[in-house]
């Protein structure tokens, strides 16, 4: 009896939240969110060993080859990670940082790859929380780069957190649909990595090996995008602000802006584990202690590329966000930082251009030619 009622409550909670969630979302075609991928049509992806920017020594090894399956399932040819590893070692380049410094043109020449995936490990921590339990958090940044042009095709920032506690988390969003981990198993870094990977690449356009039925046929499929734009007034775009914790620099205002799917929050996995995830730009939540990290820097071709996590970037690398049926471009500085202002109405950006989502020119559906 108690088992049944427990299950029912879970189910109802899930359905209920699922319903309310739909009301605030706008359906945005994948063609807008992934314009560059549809244009470049990469067939093969070279995944380089993850670059560990944390103090956890073994993060790169544990993260290992977890991405291979996720990307392959989406129809991309992923170079066999173990062999790629051995290949680099045989060339006396075994360090992820050295590998990261290899120019993309060289990688393209050696591997004949269409795209290169750079993974940055930004957090890999276990935190003890007195009285409550402990939490494990993995934050990863993924940067998919066109191997011929060096252009960033997509960038994702994903955080997955597992907390051990006795509380009963609410359930929203994805019920681990694409995740092939036994949910009863204890949550470890390996599992969290897989979840982060799945989360980040869940909506990537279908690649060549998904077959004719899918490949390039998902360009008009839509993804629900949530917004937290408060108002648009005289060229100013106001967004909801959040209260941040003490580790946010005081000179920066914190804000939450348009996002997308809440991929899973408070996902109940076993008697004591609660998982929460988010994913930017497809995520609308800023969790307090992360609010200071608006920007992601990624070392590409020897240059640190700075991008705002909460914005999407168009073909000309101009940052924009989506609010309902509007595509809103905002002012940014030459270093890539976005101009943030504040007045009595709250935090705002300067709007430079506004488009309707219907006016967005989707890339042609033409399939990539055989090599």
């Amino acid at each position: 009896m108690s088992k049944i009622s427990l299950l029912s409550i879970l189910l109802i909670t899930f359905l209920f939240i699922g319903c309310t969630g739909q009301q605030v979302a706008t359906d945005v075609p994948k063609g807008i969110l992934y314009t560059k991928i549809y244009k470049s049509k990469p067939k093969s992806v070279l995944v380089l060993p993850a670059l560990n920017t944390t103090t956890s020594a073994n993060a790169t090894d544990v993260y290992g080859y977890t991405i291979s399956k996720v990307l392959s399932e989406k129809g991309y040819y992923v170079f066999p990670p173990m062999l790629v590893d051995k290949f680099f070692k045989s060339e006396n380049i075994s360090d992820a940082e050295l590998i990261r410094k290899i120019p993309i043109s060289k990688l393209n020449e050696v591997f004949d790859c269409d795209a290169v995936l750079y993974v940055d490990i930004k957090s890999w921590d276990t935190k003890a929380m007195p009285l409550i339990g402990s939490s494990v958090e993995v934050i990863l940044t993924y940067t998919l780069v066109d191997a011929k042009t060096g252009d960033i095709l997509m960038q994702k920032y994903t955080s997955v957190k597992s907390s051990k506690s006795m509380s009963f988390g609410s359930i929203t969003g994805l019920i681990a649909s694409a995740i092939d981990v036994a949910l009863n198993a204890s949550i470890d870094y390996h599992t969290l990595s897989i979840m982060a990977n799945t989360n980040a690449f869940e909506n990537i356009p279908y690649g060549y090996y998904t077959g004719d039925e899918y490949y390039m046929n998902d360009i008009s499929d839509t993804i629900p995008i949530y917004t937290s734009v408060k108002k648009i007034d005289a060229g100013k775009l106001y967004v909801n602000s959040v209260t941040t914790s003490k580790d946010t620099p005081s000179d920066k205002s914190s804000f939450v802006i348009s996002g997308g799917t809440i991929v899973g929050e408070g996902l109940k996995t076993s008697s004591s584990d609660t998982l929460s995830m988010y994913n930017d730009p497809n995520g609308l939540i800023i969790i307090n202690n992360l609010a200071s990290e608006y920007y992601t820097t990624t070392l590409l071709n020897g240059v640190n590329v700075l991008r705002n996590r909460y914005f999407l970037y168009d073909l000309a690398n101009e940052p924009f966000i989506i609010d309902h049926d509007k595509i809103i471009y905002v002012q940014y500085n030459t270093d890539g930082t976005i101009v943030v202002n504040k007045d009595s109405d709250g935090v705002y950006f300067n709007i430079t251009k506004m488009l309707n989502t219907q006016d967005w020119i989707l890339p042609s559906k033409e399939k990539s030619s055989k090599k």
Binding site: L15, S44, S72, Y77, V110, D112, C113, Y209, T210, G211
Partner: protein, 139 residues
């Protein structure tokens, strides 16, 4: 108890109908059969010196290949190449070579990389037959 369940199923049914959305496409079927590849490769990756993990991973790769043949699906990317390398390390360099070739056959994208990898293991002379096509590729 029974009544309770009845009531519950009605409530649940109501919620489901309320949420029904015609735009939701059925999820795509998995492109490949992976068995326990991710877990086993992770295990092996962290314990490359452990001969038991080595064998387990090798077996798992074979299982993925067999499963693909059984279900008439394509073998996932990289699996043949990795299995070939496991065979090579077990001293079966001849059958290893077959799997390296199979990777290229299934996924022509891997051609340039696999050629270089094979040359590292078997020496440059081993790939002379395909040398011309390689040069053509580079152009």
């Amino acid at each position: 108890m029974k009544q309770y369940i009845h009531l519950l199923s009605i409530i649940v049914a109501l919620f489901i109908t309320g949420c029904a959305n015609d735009n939701i496409k059925p999820p795509k079927e998995p492109t490949y059969e992976w068995c326990e590849y991710t877990i086993k490769s992770g295990d092996y990756g962290l314990n490359e010196a452990n001969s038991e993990k080595f064998e387990q991973y090798k077996e798992e790769l074979k299982k993925v290949i067999d499963k693909a043949n059984e279900t008439k699906k394509r073998i996932p990317p990289g699996i043949c190449a990795e299995y070939g390398y496991m065979l090579y390390q077990s001293g079966k360099s001849e059958s290893a070579r077959e799997y390296f070739d199979k990777e290229v056959l299934l996924y022509p994208e891997s051609k340039r990389f696999m050629k270089q990898f094979v040359e590292k293991l078997y020496g440059k002379a081993s790939t002379t037959q395909t040398k011309e096509s390689h040069i053509k590729d580079k152009k």
